[in-house]
């Protein structure tokens, strides 16, 4: 099995991996890097539990061949959130509003929230809903997640 070497910046740290190019980015993160925070819920890009940020944009890591992620790419997973001010604000807001129940969708959901608030400081209801439409939650009915995103938006750092 031929492999490719890639160097990425994951949650601010440089990682070099040597892996089959078709390995799913999800598996590379969970198994090669040991970042088990990102979850697999469906393996077909429908549930969004595996959402990570690739150069700041949310993507479903179960549908990306790791070889397609080029050298120098910046990847942020749920484990990287607490290294950022916005991430900590989001985590606190999720906790305060009771946005996590079983918690399995949260590592993906909260990355979508982070991507949204990084670009749109004061999203309206429709923008919040659209930004999270690719993340399925079966527990909460989404209401408390919307509340948490609104709370975090209020507290989001200026710059």
């Amino acid at each position: 099995m031929s492999t490719v070497k890639r160097t990425w910046v994951v949650n601010g740290e440089r990682w070099t991996v040597d892996l089959p190019p078709g390995r799913r980015l999800l598996d590379a993160l969970r198994n090669d890097l040991g970042l088990k925070g990102t979850k697999e819920g469906c393996g077909e890009g429908e549930c969004g539990a595996c959402t990570v940020l690739l150069n700041g944009e949310p993507v479903t890591s179960c549908l990306i061949a790791a070889g397609q992620v080029p050298d120098g790419a910046e990847i942020m997973t749920v484990e990287g959130l607490e290294k950022t001010e916005g991430g900590r604000i989001l985590q606190e807001a999720y906790i305060e509003r009771g946005a996590a129940q079983c918690g399995f969708c949260i590592p993906g959901m909260i990355m979508s929230s982070f991507a949204l608030l990084s670009k749109t400081r004061t999203p309206d209801d429709a923008e919040i809903r659209e930004a999270h439409a690719g993340n399925i939650c079966r527990c909460t009915g989404y209401e408390k997640i919307i509340e948490a995103v609104k709370l975090a938006a209020n507290r989001w750092p200026e710059k």
Binding site: E57, P58, T60, G67, Q68, G134
Partner: protein, 284 residues
Amino acid sequence: MRTVEDIEIRFPGSLAEALAWQADEKTRGRPLAGGTDLMVQWESGVAAIPERAVSLWGLKELKGIRETPRGIEIGAMTTHTELRSSPLVREKLPALAAAAATVGGRQIQNRGTIAGNVANASPAGDLAPTLLITDGLATAASASGRRDIPLAKLFTGYRKLDVRADELLVSFTLPALPAGAREKFHKIGTRAAQAISKVMGACRVRVQNGTIVSLAVSLGSVAPVPVRLPELEQWIAGRRVDLNLLEEVERRASAEVHPIDDIRSTATYRKWVSGRLVRALLEA
């Protein structure tokens, strides 16, 4: 037992390199764009796992949206996010921008590409109807040159395209919305977001003084390929828009399609709602 990890994915440094590989059966690989369709099909066993794949994702030659005399030229690796947020596409190809915004969730829009959506050649491919109504072209390249394929002839059958094995789709050239015309896209899906269509449609219509000058209308998920409705388009030219016409449009559009039952909907509903949809597209 082969898995996706057994695929030898190759990463060309340029389009020329990719085309050179594709020219030779021994080095040719399955073209791989953002992976949002192919990775699912490979993982689920719906599509056979190929020996080799060639990743087009990073090729700069296949990126970009620009205006040309022939129309808006869109690179094959343009993502749905780029389509929906491009001011040029939003102004000149509003139905396409609208359709791109209904593909999957944000995550899929960030990886899915126009060429990937077309090459997947699913009758439920979200972009196809909005491409067909422009009477535009797809451009395929091979080591021996380029070939324009009218979009009307591109889809040849269920999951089949008029693209040779040694060719790669490189761009789409779509005539902009002419002055005085309007475009609409509408998708009837299984839910409000991240939905695969039951029926979807797009139209480009020019109305002058209450009379239809020209109509291009296209439907997806009603046949093995996305279709135009030539009989309706021919019949309607020169007619005045009024309630009677809209009712007749509904009847004729419904009569012109022959959809099937599947997991998402029924043939009878699709046939009926196709007429309703085309009518709604024409209603201002």
